[in-house]
């Protein structure tokens, strides 16, 4: 692991009205690291992820990617970055959404090519090659010309992953990407994520798939009540259960299904 973490989050706060969702989150992610965020619903996991690419503007603290403050020119609550600067920063962080959010008027291939053409300014041929490469990687080489409405949920989500990684982001954010899927489609999506992890992609993952979190990530972070309540290597974290009641209560709900 390199000396300076790729992603540095310090004392992060975020409120929606009077509801303070993030109270003070500290979290670093090193290049090549796969970090999974678990925790109870409403605990701020998704909000944390959405702050990292500034889909939500945070109120206080700091988020830095490669040493640059995300979203703000200097510090939180100050002047926001201009449209072009902000867009360029967002292009460096890929995100995959719970509800896929594919562009319904574009084919699988075009969904991936849009960012490559309009943001990365790739020539048509190159953009198409990259799109097809990634569709092949997620097992959809035969679906390049399909519209999202012609794909299953699992296939749509795999296109969603391909769209994000094709932009060659520094960090990939996965926001409960299997929550909207039928159970039998979950694994085809998680398999793609496992492959990306073994390729060395830096990832920050929010998931309810505890078993997946345990075997696919380098570190698990337990977020509850707007703070990082516990974190560590998967095995070590599970060992902390004895000292952390919130973590114990949270995990006990999964013990019936965990192996």
């Amino acid at each position: 692991m390199s000396a300076t973490p790729l992603l540095q989050i310090a004392r992060l706060t975020k409120s929606f009205g009077t509801n303070q969702v993030l109270k003070s989150v500290d979290l670093n992610v090193a290049a090549g690291e796969v970090v999974t965020v678990i925790g109870p619903s409403g605990g701020g996991k998704t909000t944390l992820l959405r702050c990292v690419n500034f889909l939500e503007a945070y109120d206080g603290g700091s988020i830095k990617i490669d040493g640059r403050e995300v979203g703000y020119v200097d510090n939180a609550g100050g002047r926001k970055r201009g449209e072009i600067d902000l867009a360029a920063m967002r292009a460096e962080t890929g995100i995959v959404f719970q509800s896929f959010n594919l562009f319904p008027h574009l084919t699988a291939e075009q969904n991936i090519m849009l960012g490559l053409r309009q943001v990365r300014k790739k020539p048509l041929k190159e953009a198409q090659d990259i799109a097809r490469h990634w569709l092949d990687r997620v097992g959809l080489a035969h679906k390049t010309k399909s519209l999202p409405s012609e794909l299953s949920g699992g296939q749509q989500q795999r296109v969603g992953i391909a769209r994000a990684v094709a932009m060659d982001p520094k960090i990939l954010l996965l926001d409960e990407i299997t929550s909207a899927l039928d159970p039998e489609l979950v694994n085809e999506v998680l398999d793609v994520v496992r492959q990306l992890a073994s390729d060395g992609m830096t990832m920050l993952i929010v998931t309810h798939e505890i078993a997946f979190a345990r075997d696919a990530s380098h570190r698990i972070v337990f977020v509850a009540d707007g703070v990082v309540s516990a974190q560590g290597k998967p095995d070590a974290l599970m060992g902390e259960v004895a000292h952390n009641e919130r973590l114990r209560n949270f995990l006990s709900r999964f013990s019936a299904t965990a192996h």
Partner: protein
């Protein structure tokens, strides 16, 4: 019968001149209201609150006034303010204001029907605002925008007949002028109705083709 045909043949050259004016007024109204209305419609959704408030006020006022009142208000109301427009431009301005208020509403309805996740996905791949609209939001909004807007185009053609009240010689006014000479209203009004119908029927046929073009987009 022969008299009827003679009356029509006599009228045709005058009516064609009027028809040209009707089409010109409609075209300018539709084109200007489209551009201004879409821009303000986008401002109404994504703009800062003072802008949204001003646009909201503007559209609510315009839509609450009968178009006829609006035409006279522009024609008689602007000169005292130091703005002297010809009757042609007064009429076009009033029709455009009226139409713009409608286009703002169509745009707002169509754009805000697109799920929020689409804008977020477009942001996340690094598209700037104008490209998010152009490549992600507008192509999807088109499907909902077109049907009411195309209806509105035929309304604009029909509504343009009101410019005759300011003395602009459009199709309606040309008909009135011919009747003023021949004292035979029936054949001329029937002929005028047929011409308006022919324009609008071909417009709505074209609009059905256009709508089909966007029918493939499903959410």
């Amino acid at each position: 019968m022969q008299e009827l045909i003679d009356a029509i043949i006599y009228a045709i050259p005058y009516l064609m001149g009027g028809l040209g004016m009707t089409l010109l007024v409609s075209l300018i109204t539709v084109a200007m209201s489209l551009v201004i209305g879409v821009v303000l419609g986008v401002g109404l959704i994504y703009g800062p609150w003072p802008l949204r408030w001003v646009i909201r006020l503007l559209t609510d006022c315009i839509r609450g006034i009968p178009i006829l009142v609006l035409i006279f208000a522009v024609y008689y109301g602007l000169p005292p303010l130091g703005l002297n427009l010809s009757s042609f431009w007064s009429a076009v301005l009033a029709l455009t204001l009226f139409k713009t208020a409608q286009v703002i509403e169509y745009t707002r309805g169509a754009v805000s029907s697109i799920p929020r996740g689409q804008m977020e996905a477009a942001k996340s791949i690094g598209l700037i605002f104008s490209k998010r609209l152009r490549y992600v939001i507008f192509p999807q909004a088109m499907r909902r925008f077109l049907p009411p807007w195309l209806n509105g185009v035929t309304d604009a053609v029909k509504g343009s007949a009101l410019v005759s009240l300011l003395g602009v010689v459009d199709l309606m006014q040309a008909i009135n002028q011919v009747i003023g000479r021949t004292y035979e209203p029936m054949p001329l009004y029937v002929l005028g109705a047929l011409i308006y119908f022919a324009i609008n029927y071909s417009l709505s046929s074209m609009s059905k083709l256009l709508e089909r073009r966007y029918a493939y987009i499903k959410e």
